[in-house]
């Protein structure tokens, strides 16, 4: 009775790994989709458990790799190529889509049990009691990570450890990769422009500020003092700006107000730029709440805009002064 069941395996091929890398690097993410519907792993029978996932390549592959060597049905929901947690937040990994796929696969005829095992992070989009009412299937929330699934399936009980979302250094750097790569072309362009306007130090400042915000910030996240992302970013930006400001005091040598203005432009422009990019990292984390992010946006974005604006105006004055005879 496997009318609409596609076969799959638990083996991750080289082509899959290349796909994973491209997805992590943010290259045409929307192309990393899996065809939605029912898949059979190994030799599933009418008693075999049904595990549900999203149609994002990384989600589907993490699941089938974890189930390698076992028999399972995998029901893939159409989340438009988005991972389970983000899709659940948007409602596309949701009750309606789950009911639709259960019916489309005629699951009630494929298996003779009535259990669906969902990833825990699908819960923001799925109402278990409603699925039961509409399909007769009982939703069981499995662990957060697919890798814990074999242990979960032995007892059908998740330990508190399996239920908790973490954000380890490896997790942070993996999700940061796309944020590190994306701004590089723009950063290079701005650095070249600043090199011709103001010399090597302003160009270096742009490179250091960008890398500090996109690579160093995620790495140091738990160790930066304060709780808010904006203030953590201001602090990191200040640490980057200070040596630049000190270097700018003496090089190239100039008289009067110019060295001070040069130092001030780094102290004004770099910290808010790093803080802004740091605030954007909230979208990549596993723990920020909307109320918290909203509070930060209202509290700190105006400060960032004014400081950065003042820094840019000061930089233009400094560059102009250097250009028209400020060179002593």
């Amino acid at each position: 009775m496997n009318i609409a069941c596609r076969p799959t395996t638990g083996v991750i091929t080289f082509a899959n790994r290349w796909d994973h890398f491209l997805a992590r690097a943010g290259v045409n993410r929307m192309a990393r989709r899996v065809e939605p519907g029912l898949y059979g792993l190994g030799k599933p029978t009418a008693q075999t458990l049904v595990v549900v996932t999203a149609n994002y390549r990384l989600s589907f592959d993490a699941l089938r790799a974890a189930l390698n060597g076992t028999d399972a049905y995998i029901l893939v929901l159409n989340t438009q190529g988005i991972n389970v947690w983000c899709a659940a937040g948007e409602g596309t990994f949701g009750t309606d889509e789950l009911v639709r796929q259960v019916e489309a696969a005629a699951l009630a005829e494929v298996v003779n049990h009535r259990v669906l095992i969902l990833p825990q992070l699908g819960a923001p989009g799925v109402a278990a009691h409603e699925v039961k009412k509409r399909t007769g299937f009982k939703v069981e929330y499995g662990p957060v990570r697919a890798a814990d699934l074999p242990a979960y399936l032995k007892t059908r009980q998740a330990t508190p450890e399996m239920r908790r979302v973490r954000f380890t250094l490896a997790d942070r750097m993996t999700v940061a990769l796309v944020d590190i790569l994306k701004p590089l072309p723009l950063m290079a362009l701005v650095a070249v422009v600043l090199y011709f306007l103001g010399g090597p130090l302003p160009a270096l400042a742009v490179i250091l500020a960008t890398l500090a915000a996109t690579a160093l910030f995620p790495a140091l996240l738990p160790w930066l003092p304060t709780r808010e992302f904006s203030t953590k970013g201001f602090i990191l930006g200040g640490v980057v700006a200070l040596p630049l400001a000190l270097a700018a005091l003496g090089n190239p040598p100039a008289l009067g107000w110019l060295p001070l203005a040069r130092a001030a432009m780094y102290l004004l422009a770099v910290p808010p730029a790093v803080a802004y990019l740091a605030l954007l990292f909230t979208g990549s984390t596993t723990f920020t709440s909307r109320a918290g992010v909203r509070r930060e946006i209202f509290a700190y974005i105006p400060v960032m805009a004014w400081m950065f604006g003042a820094g840019v105006v000061l930089a233009l004055v400094v560059f102009a002064a250097q250009f028209w005879g400020g060179r002593a």
Partner: protein, 88 residues
Amino acid sequence: MNRVSEINSLQYDAAQCIGCGLCVDVCPHGVFAMNGRLARLVRPAACMECGACQKNCPVGALWVDSGTGCASAMIRAALSGKKEAKPT
């Protein structure tokens, strides 16, 4: 319902709880624990407002203004005047 933390919108009405334990299962930050036959809040400040508990509470004992704590999505929504993505 009672606000349970200063820094998020989570609300819980213990009087309605039937002790099914689903909130404990779905919360990714260990906000809930079972205390006999009732859910109890053990880490209310860790709530990230994902909405999983509200969605899966069969009796409506939990409420949270759910959404994604993502600054770029919120700034984009503010600038374009469109609504932030929200589960329905």
